[in-house]
């Protein structure tokens, strides 16, 4: 149980996908302007990350490893994740229209998002078990949510400030992102302290 919690918390705080591993920067900068769209996007990411891991892990272990074609990992994962997200979108539209209304716009955007692909590949690189992979993916998604929510607050402060012309728009946002990222580096020892390792 404890190792699950360690994986979960280190995925959220220490190995935060956006702020520490620098994956998924495009939605991080693009959709963090408003809090509600940031939250909507993040929930879609959590959902897709867990689902993608649930599907790609067996494919890797059951198909690619026995046939010794591990080098096809990236292309097959992209293929599978893209098809999977499309399938989920069709199913959601049919059976849960309300959820499709709120997540629908973001689902196609994360079809081939690097954070989603990253988490599936990292799970295998870290040689996690199936359950550990799922926990790690969930943690990575929650970490994404945390980063998005924190940053959308900062974005709103940035919008109401008067910057020199050269820093207006994206430059000021990137500088703010780097400072938030530095702050997250401060979490690097927190897991050891938290679980008394």
């Amino acid at each position: 149980m404890q190792d699950m919690l360690i994986i979960l918390f280190s995925a959220i705080l220490v190995n935060n996908f956006v702020l520490v591993k620098f994956l998924g920067i495009c939605p991080f900068l693009g959709v963090s302007k408003k809090l509600d769209s940031a939250v909507g996007m993040s929930f879609a990411v959590i959902f897709v990350m867990v689902l993608a891991t649930a599907v790609t892990y067996p494919i890797h272990m059951g198909l690619l490893v026995p046939l010794q074609i591990g080098y096809l990992q990236t292309i097959i994962f992209i293929l599978v994740i893209a098809a999977l997200v499309q399938l989920v979108e069709i199913a959601l539209k049919k059976y849960v229209p309300a959820l499709h209304q709120s997540l629908g716009v973001y689902l196609p955007l994360i079809t081939t998002n690097c954070a989603v692909l990253g988490v599936t590949i990292l799970n295998i690189d870290e040689s996690y078990t199936y359950i550990q992979s799922l926990v790690n993916s969930f943690g990575a998604g929650v970490g994404f949510l945390l980063a998005m929510v924190l940053f959308s607050g900062i974005r709103q402060r940035i919008e109401n400030n008067n910057f020199p012309a050269a820093f207006k728009g994206i430059p000021s946002v990137l500088i703010a992102a780097s400072i938030v990222s530095l702050a997250f580096m401060g979490f690097s020892g927190v897991i050891d302290g938290l679980f008394g390792l």
Partner: protein, 290 residues
Amino acid sequence: MSYIIPVGIVTGIGLLAGAILTVADKFMGVKMDETAAKVLAALPGANCGACGFAGCQDYANTLAKDEEHVIKANLCTPGGDSVAMEVSSILGVEFEGASSQFAIMKCSGSQDRTNYAMDYKGHQTCKANKLFYRGRGACEMACLGFGDCVNVCEYGAIRIENGLAVINKNRCVGCGLCAKACPNALIEIVPEKTRVVVGCSSIDTGKDTRQICSIGCIACKLCEKTCKFDAIHVIDNHAVIDYTKCKNCTLCAKKCPTNVIHVFPKPVNAAKQKAKPVVAEPSQEEASVQ
């Protein structure tokens, strides 16, 4: 022949995914309403919200679902007559002519008529200035003159002249984006036939208004007494016209002691030239996510 297995695997998974998606679409696919798709194609796609719905898609869906035709097909003001006609023909309803409307400015406080109460150096937008006490104008409701309305207008119909927003009626399509942007709610969307406009929204009493603005409404109620149609009333210390009752007789404008009721000249040519909307570029948000 070692490459047969990898090629086969990738092809196989690709074909399998394609097959699953095709089957899923067949059994679970929700068909987009054909009428909605056609209406959406006919609409300009500016997503301005002038129709009162959340974008063109929402308006098209609502129209397609609305089988008794309660919702009018002519609500798209930026599209004008041509779009209304096309949408009406798709829905099979009678063409009623586009409900044309335009924006009016309910403040006349240019800099030669009223002064600023402060020398504001902060963030140069109306919204920010309004948050700072109650704006830089001597009059609380005066046009702040930073041009938030100019920035949102996609048709180039507004300009700031002498510290006051001026609307070019010929270019205005009545989408109402400026009305939403103005922190003092000075811009109102009115029907096409409107010719009489009260150029003041002051909430100060007549005496106070006189001291800070040479044209502001002093709430003397002369217009209210003059009007034969019960269309103009003094509300919150300024005259307000009820455009459902106004007959454009312009008597109130002639009586007004401060000349704050403005009259548009009679239209010479009914065929109004509509400016084309600036091609809607994908917003930064969408573009950077992909």
